[in-house]
Symmetry: D3
Subunit: 336 residues, 6 copies
């Protein structure tokens, strides 16, 4: 059976209930999440054996975070418990014209201070089918970037498929190296990348040919030329009509053909966080399950659309529910 491994930081997410603001509340709802771990959790809920690898502090918060993922079926068998603090962030849920707002408090976390030698990638990845990472990990610290590079190298050597959500966040890169210097070597080892035009521009100075029919295809062609290992470039297009109403579709280019899914209406949005990770998980599930890339892409988008109706960072919908949305049934009719 297939197995997917993900690697990246997990943070405690603290949110006021409902749409309250931080300055109004005496209560916070807490969950634990991270861009890569969320992919494992969503996959585990779809029945795919999934393991997340990270570094947690050796205290009750690290224990609580690990237990949170275990609960959803994610293996934490190779997670290291070392260091002092769990990164965290405070999330205010917006509504209507008011945007959701995040206050990060993640500096100097156990993950940022991880020891790359602490992970036995050979052991972890043996028997795995897929390894997934994101551009957030190498942005956090030099050691995190090195652990990521080790994992990618090992995966390639073992023939494990590698995917990355390049996810460029300028303000995360604080440890002295530049994304533009670090990311290319990592992306070189990837089979699949999630990358939009602005990311390609920021990270690789790739700009679509203005004369091209479709900017995404033009960008993808250049990206694949630069990084020959890449076989698929995917992304989502999100129209943010309001904090409560988005529209979403998926795009894929595989070097030969360009696929675009229908646009899905999402209203109201229950929880926006993890939407991209659910897309990735759905795409991985679909790639491992369905015959065509267009089905995998549709699966990613459908999973992401449903995720927006679920509290927390994970897509907890069943495969049957995702496939219903893939078939175009978005009516939400009561199931008795």
């Amino acid at each position: 059976m297939t197995k997917v491994v993900t690697f990246g930081e997990v943070m405690m997410r603290l949110s006021p209930p409902l749409n309250y603001k931080l300055i109004q509340t005496n209560h916070l709802d807490i969950i634990y999440g991270g861009g890569e771990a969320n992919v494992s959790a969503s996959l585990a809920q779809m029945g795919v054996p999934a393991e997340h690898v990270t570094c947690f502090p050796a205290n009750d918060l690290g224990k609580a975070a690990a237990q949170f993922f275990q609960q959803y079926g994610v293996s934490m068998a190779n997670t290291v418990f070392r260091g002092n603090r769990l990164g965290l962030y405070f999330l205010e849920a917006g509504a209507s014209v008011r945007a959701s707002k995040i206050v990060y408090d993640r500096a100097d976390s156990a993950f940022a201070n991880l020891d790359p030698a602490g992970f036995d990638w050979e052991k972890i990845l043996t028997g795995a089918d897929w390894f997934h990472w994101t551009g957030i990990t190498p942005a956090i610290s030099d050691t995190a970037a090195r652990a990521c590079a080790d994992a990618i190298a090992t995966a390639r050597r073992l023939g494990v498929k590698v995917s990355a959500d390049v996810n460029y966040r300028r303000n995360l890169w604080q440890y002295g190296k530049k994304a533009q210097d670090v990311m290319p070597a990592l992306v070189e080892g990837c089979d699949v990348v999630v990358c939009a035009e602005n990311d390609a521009d920021d990270l690789f100075a790739i700009t679509p040919d203005p004369a091209a029919d479709h900017s995404f295809v033009s960008m993808s062609e250049q990206l694949m030329a630069r990084f020959p290992a890449i076989k698929q470039v995917i992304t989502t297009r999100r129209d943010t009509l309001s904090a409560s109403h988005n529209q979403l579709r998926g795009l894929l280019y595989d070097g030969e053909s360009f696929v675009e899914t229908p646009t899905y209406d999402i209203v109201p949005i229950v929880d926006r966080i993890g939407g991209g990770d659910a897309f990735m998980a759905g795409f991985i599930y679909g790639s491992l399950t369905y015959p065509s890339a267009s089905e995998a892409l549709l699966c990613g988008v459908a999973a992401s659309v449903i995720k927006h109706s679920i509290h927390g960072d994970f897509n907890l919908a069943s495969v049957a529910e995702v496939e219903e949305v893939m078939r175009g049934n978005t009516s939400g009719r009561l199931l008795r």
Copy 2:
């Protein structure tokens, strides 16, 4: 003054808060409801004396369920406390493309095991104006079906008007008899039935004449021909745009004329459960109060539309609020 009697099972409804899923929650909100009891509760809130008859287990859950209905003004004076368990169901509230989902745990309930001899229908129905039942009751068990038949027969004898929501749910019929064999004899005693085309097809093999102007009218004509006691056939048409957005209108045929209400937009939906029961209660209230059937129908639809904005299974809006919606005022403007 008028009095309405209803008969049927009451279950405990357990729902995670907000839009949480069962696998995410440590808390459940509980209420008690049932398709027939909900009609009594909604009527009691509109000021109509209403009594619900059922069988509860002789334990604290039965007591809690009875007290829940007493609170809303429903008489439980002839309810029997006997047996072991209260049926229950778990309800996850959907949102957007995600459907609400129900897990039933109602087998072998006190109601399913009721003793038909335990109800003195002569006493219960004397002085009543209206008796209401649904197709769920005879589906539960043979004894429940027999108690229902007794009640209908007694009602007819005493000149009490009888209504039924035929409500065919295939997976409920588990005790060895078929709906198609049981229901006709029961429907024979009804003055008013809630029945849509698919119910008529499933239960009575009645299919609309394809050449008819309106399938509902065609079906109703055949239904009334088969069951001459029926004077009115009613139903609602629901367009499920999403779990958060429905549209609703009502249809009525009385053997002579066909009435259709305007279509009401319901967005957002606060609680979908009990929408049909609120329609029935509104229709009964309207039939007892307004001169015309079209007003009764409009009252049913307006009551149902408002119910979707109220937590729980009952329409707790006042008659004044319902009549405001009947007049077409759906603006929801703040009342100081």
Copy 3:
């Protein structure tokens, strides 16, 4: 630096959680608010020194109410603690077609029984730039009306700008005087008034010239003719599509030109109460900050629109968030 002073009653607001009705709930959420105090709170959150003056009962509820405003940065230094009860009201939040509903219990409050001699307006208003009151205050009691008149007179004498939201609520005027007799003398001392056509008609028997291009301009011209101190007449136009969906725009006439803002869509509405007060606070902030009246008006509308997405009576959004909406960005895109 500028300072704004407001004067008026503060009540405890008690609401069932979510969209529950009073007859369904065992829990009430409480906050404290009032049409004038809300303006101070919203201004304080925008960084403007603001003081609210009121009379609280000399008990724990008065203390709690005062502390609530202190928390949001409003000075309560000149508030009087005397009398027996805090006015209160119960608020059921509507949804969709169901209107929000208020049950008032404010009679005979400490504020209604205030002693006008208890406020040293000379001291309070010295150094202030702006004094704001509303038509609710003189409606409550004769002593409240007198205190309001004292404050207005003192403000004029000290050169403090005066604004009023005339806010005519017929059922509040219970103490024997008529709004039509009391209000003119108070409005005479105002530089800015919030007044819609129906208020002008009810209070001052001013009706727009039917031949006028714009009824608001016609009304404003007459109002300014009657009360020469008035330099600006403003108001909002609200289209109530449902309890969950409103549209809003602002209007201003300054004796020369008429300004109208774009119409903003508000869906879903998190909390409707205080929308008008946030408009007033935004307008005052804008008047004190931006060069043009049209910017001040736009600021008022933007602040009000955002307020509808915030629980409670206050606009807790930052100036940056308000200005984003003023620039037309209503997408509510996640802020990391």
Copy 4:
């Protein structure tokens, strides 16, 4: 079958959760209660038909309060809905050395303004076995006192037993009459009174003979001499070791013998309010059920002791649970 009728004001009780103080909380738990209505509710829970008569405001709060009592099985059939406000009080639950604290807001309630002609006591009390009132009712207003006098007179005429908890609260008597002038005529019509030495002193200037063996007996003898209708004087002795730990026993004198129950330890106290009312209800239940007065007294104390372990104003324990405590089993051993 027996039926008990009670008469008195019902208030909304608003408490911060747990041991929070009013100045700390955003949430209030609400229930409805009153010294007399609590007796009916506790009796209804013990299976005794009970009706409470009161006057509620004609608004949603009055409706909510009535429904609260209906839920627990109390008939509200003769309650009048008239007037403007429901009395309310805010309750902070103490702990350890910190006392619980009440802020009353009950002036000018619908009950205080009741119309004595609104109650048809002949109809209400016909068929009843017991009528219970307390000294709080005549303290509230002249009309309340008159309605109480009417009820007592009617009860006597119809041969209905009358009990009173004289419950003297000095600060309640605000309407111009003195307890000392009003109470004697009312107590004259009572068969059973709850009265401690301090009440007897305050209300009737009765002081125990210092030479007597037992002050309670001495006081009771004088009380019975003054009011010959009284057949039993009862009271509880409460030792308040802390807000979390009390000790309780009951005393009874019937003109011949003096009975005292064992002392019960109550720790921790879940909810102190309604302890006296549960005693009264238990005593009434016991008087109607057991052969001896000493059993009735013990039933009252046991009911009161259990009530302290139950949230809210009512004793919701079953008769079986009360009798277990009467038998001296206070171990609280888990019941499977």
Copy 5:
């Protein structure tokens, strides 16, 4: 490394918050637990690899229950998902003189209907050190009893130590066989049994010699004579001073010496359920870790004592916390 396997039913536990009663509440807190699974959970929290084997219904409730145990580190790898319903029970937490109260609704559960052939005990127990079961399992159904017998037989064959909490509950044995006929054969295969004098009497007609120094020793000697495989008999003595205050100590007899721990005071009790299971888990942990049986016994008692201060069925305290209590430090001094 050691591994412990447990087998038995898991139920959903539904409790009103705080000390509320079922007839008072709209909310239930839910967890999942069972006498054997609780042992695994407590062991997993102490760092011992633990697996629980059970049969869950193939629905969201079964999934939620399994995830609940996964969260706390219990392997559910060999749990079967088959059947229709999850057993459940409603728990009211008592206080002071009021006992906690349970309403069971566990009949006809997926576990009761399990297929003994569905468990591959050879595979499950290979490599395990300890297998634990309780007298509840054979009480549930014939198939459950047979699966239990299979497991015990396999464990013996594989040299896995077997323990049982004989836990006789008369009212559970409903399927036609008697405990007295079923239990002896099962207890025959046990190395360690938890058994008090009343259990021995009820199940095995063993009564202590009245002349013996200690009834527990006398009973144990007879038990060990009858079942020669038994090497240790243990139990706890609980003094139930009130629902909030218990005292606990442990007893052990190993055929040669009798050990008794000090008595621990437990006040207040946060949650009584699972106290015995925590004792068993502590004893197993201690047996696997410490050199002497008396330390194992003390560990069991200390774990149980701490468990009473923890919400839910599990002992979530760390080994360090348990050992602190074993050393006699019960001061609960703040740990910074």
Copy 6:
């Protein structure tokens, strides 16, 4: 009128509800507190003008923390908003034998990185009567220690009384300096110190004369000899019977006489945190109000005892409530 100034770090405190553990909860209750700021808050609640000076991060958490103290009447006028993170800690409330447990996450906070030049102590302390600091502040960072030294020096120069709770926490001193090197110079400027024997030993190598009558007096004499500015040495003695039950008394030595208060029983403990700060605040209040040091000491102890019955870090009891406990009334009798 008097004014008290305090200086020190404020952290966000995050606690699971009730007695839940971090690994069990999805919700955290949040408040803000710090050993010095708590003194200001408790004083402000007793009516003493109080200002707390600290450094908060320039984000929504800093704003929320400041508003939390404003709410309780503490001036934050000279607090600096600069830096990145708010220190925080997670608190599990213990019960019975289980200790409360804290996980700190306070490293590298805005306060630790404060700029000593950012505080204008001359301005802040002019007009103040009392300045209070604790040994936690110089433990945090070198800049914090320097700011503390500046404040003490300025206070002395301006004739402001200085108190310190020396509060030695070994594991806090991480920045390279030792408490033993830093503290003496700071304590030299103090008039009043809270210091127990172990603190004196750890910090100043002062050990009580074994032959002395009372170790506290012996220690105090040596302390006052070493630091001649000290006029009073005070401390509390706490007997920790369990996490739910403590006993407390206060000790004072003023160079001439030794005073000891009665011992107070505290059971149950609602919230242990802030007990020492409430003692300090009560002592300061008492010193400013009562004629004798023994009354001030008693006031400190009484305030601390009541604080243990209040959620959060502050003593929110009124002066009247504190004085009631000072008079020995600890019965917690209901106040109507």
